[in-house]
């Protein structure tokens, strides 16, 4: 989950910062290099149940919209074709500025609205040497551990993009430490409500740290995030707050030639924001205003095999769970899992064609559950200038 409310201001601020930094260059030869690229991606999906017309849950694996109760029109919209996963990125690089290397990067897809094609900002940041400021992946995430699947995100993967300020410090050969202040957002369930309330706060910032090793055989990381959960709504009295932590052990192991194993093990009472695309709440707020944090964990194991340089498959299995207090409503998600298997043909670096099978399942606190199966065909065309 990520904020986009201040996107125009964010982009403007980054452009002004970059322009100001570039203007301090000593010579005319230090001209920023502009490049752009992305890919066009078309998905054809066939599922055994529909989340509802034009809902995101029918366009990718989105656990909060995985049907649990039977819907009278569940069989009507099981097939979809869309290109919302297409991406466009723009990049300005200036390697010889007075501040070292400068980079302005922005990337968008078309998932902002599920019933139209409005651009959604995925990344927008200025990178000056080791400092990154803007919107990008949370420092909590090891992006090399994310599974190579097309039908959405495996439930055990953390995929939070947010506003942050991050410093990346090399420690020694192949070892890096990343420390960041990140946009604080709380996901709270208020007793009596029907859903999760997202509260965007000003402070204190989340503090995220990731220690990452990059040996020849892949990547290994240990990360943690400290967050403050608090009731800021004035609907309940008195306000309550507490600290919450989450930890992640993640990595990618090259098992020979091009094959690799990817994994993520996440745990903590501060995990919900970084888990399963918003399926879980950080805490339950009782009627008396007391706040009860939900401890959660999630796991991912994915193996990617190359049958030949042009043919690859990924098998991924994933789970996520949130321990819910007795005061939590029965309609909150408690358990979820997903399994993915794909086969992709990439005859060259320009385009690929793939087929993927997905199985998703979720269980509510009240023990009702639902599952879906989906077959997805994906065509992708890469482009880049220059």
């Amino acid at each position: 989950m990520h904020r986009t409310a201040s996107t125009p201001r964010l982009l403007l601020a980054l452009i002004l910062l970059f322009s100001g930094s570039s203007a301090l260059s000593a010579t005319a030869a230090d001209t920023p290099l502009f490049s752009s690229g992305g890919f066009l991606k078309v998905h054809g999906l066939l599922g055994d149940i529909s989340a509802g017309r034009d809902l995101r849950g029918d366009q990718e694996l989105f656990i909060p919209q995985l049907p649990v109760a039977a819907r009278p029109d569940a069989d009507d919209q099981r097939t979809h074709v869309h290109a919302r996963a297409s991406r466009l990125w723009l990049r300005l690089q200036h390697d010889d500025s007075r501040f070292g290397s400068l980079e302005l990067f922005a990337e968008a897809d078309w998932f902002k609205e599920s019933d139209g094609y409005s651009p959604r900002l995925r990344h927008a940041y200025l990178k000056a040497g080791r400092l990154l400021v803007g919107q990008s992946w949370s420092t909590f995430i090891n992006t090399q551990a994310l599974a190579d699947i097309d039908a959405g995100i495996a439930v055990g993967n953390s995929v939070t993009r947010l506003h942050l300020l991050r410093w990346s410090q090399p420690l020694r050969d192949g070892l890096q430490l990343h420390v960041a202040l990140e946009d604080p957002v709380n996901r709270l369930y208020f007793s009596g409500n029907s859903g999760i309330t997202v509260i965007e706060r000003e402070r204190p910032y989340d503090i995220a740290v990731r220690l990452e090793a990059l040996p020849d055989w892949g990547s290994l990381s240990l990360s943690g995030v400290w967050r403050e959960l608090s009731v800021t709504s004035d609907r309940v009295r008195p306000a309550d707050s507490r600290s919450a932590l989450a930890f992640s052990l993640a990595g990618r192991i090259d098992t020979g030639a091009l094959d690799n194993l990817r994994f993520m093990l996440n745990y903590g009472d501060g995990l919900a924001r970084h888990s399963t695309l918003g399926a879980f709440a950080d805490a339950v707020v009782a009627a008396d205003g007391s706040l009860d944090a939900n401890t959660g964990y999630s796991t991912l194991l994915a193996y990617q095999h190359y049958w030949a340089p042009q043919w690859r498959s990924t098998l991924a299995v994933s789970t996520a769970r949130s321990e819910l207090p007795a005061s939590a409503a029965g309609g909150l998600t408690r358990n979820t899992s997903s399994g993915h298997l794909n086969l992709v043909w990439a005859p060259n670096q320009r385009w690929s064609l793939g087929v993927e099978y997905l199985h998703g399942w979720r269980e509510l606190k009240q023990a009702a559950d639902g599952e879906l199966q989906r077959l997805q065909l994906t065509w992708r065309l890469n482009f880049q200038m220059p």
Binding site: G37, W89, R91, E103, F105, E107, H123, K127, S136, W137, T143, Q144, L146, D148, I149, D150, V159, L214, D216, G256, A257, L258, Y306, P309, R312, V344, A346, Q349, S352, R380, N382
Partner: protein, 159 residues
């Protein structure tokens, strides 16, 4: 064909088999045993280069890394390619030294010398391109390098 990519885990076994095969054959061996073993290593190096290039190529379809992160990955792969190419360049010098141990006619010797120097030059160029980050030029050069290997092997491998 020794120039095809060889899975990493099979390298030690393959090298052992090559060495044993060299000892077990009924064909008279060239007098320089050490250069012969090093010469066959260059084929394994070409296989490693193919593997590193493949690891570079698959980054084109990554779904999650930002372009900034992809650049870091490409630099790592390019550095590995440069190291392997430098080793191949040095190994090609061993191939060149083999010429004196082979019973070649004048025109054959000239051809052998030319191919060995081509291998050396192409490996050196590969190292330079990889070090300079000119990644788009690596695959075409690698095809030329493999063609040089195949030409030499087809003419002289049984000598």
């Amino acid at each position: 064909m020794l120039c095809r990519p060889v899975p990493a885990k099979r390298r030690c076994g393959l090298l052992t088999l090559l060495l044993l095969a060299g000892c077990a054959t009924e064909t008279p061996l060239p007098t320089a045993q050490a250069p012969l073993r090093d010469e066959r290593l260059h084929a394994l190096m070409v296989g490693e280069l193919d593997q590193e290039l493949a690891r570079l190529d698959v980054l084109a379809f990554d779904l999650h890394l930002t372009q900034t992160e992809l650049d870091v990955m490409r630099q790592r792969r390019a550095a590995a390619i440069a190291v392997n190419a430098a080793q191949l360049r040095d190994s090609a010098a061993e191939v060149l030294a083999l010429q004196t141990t082979l019973d070649l006619a004048a025109d054959e010797a000239s051809r052998f010398d030319s191919l060995a120097r081509q291998l050396q030059d192409k490996a050196a160029t590969l190292e330079q391109l990889a070090s300079a980050g000119r990644l788009q030029e690596l695959s075409p050069l690698m095809r030329e390098l493999r063609a040089t290997c195949n030409s030499c092997h087809s003419l002289y491998r049984e000598r």
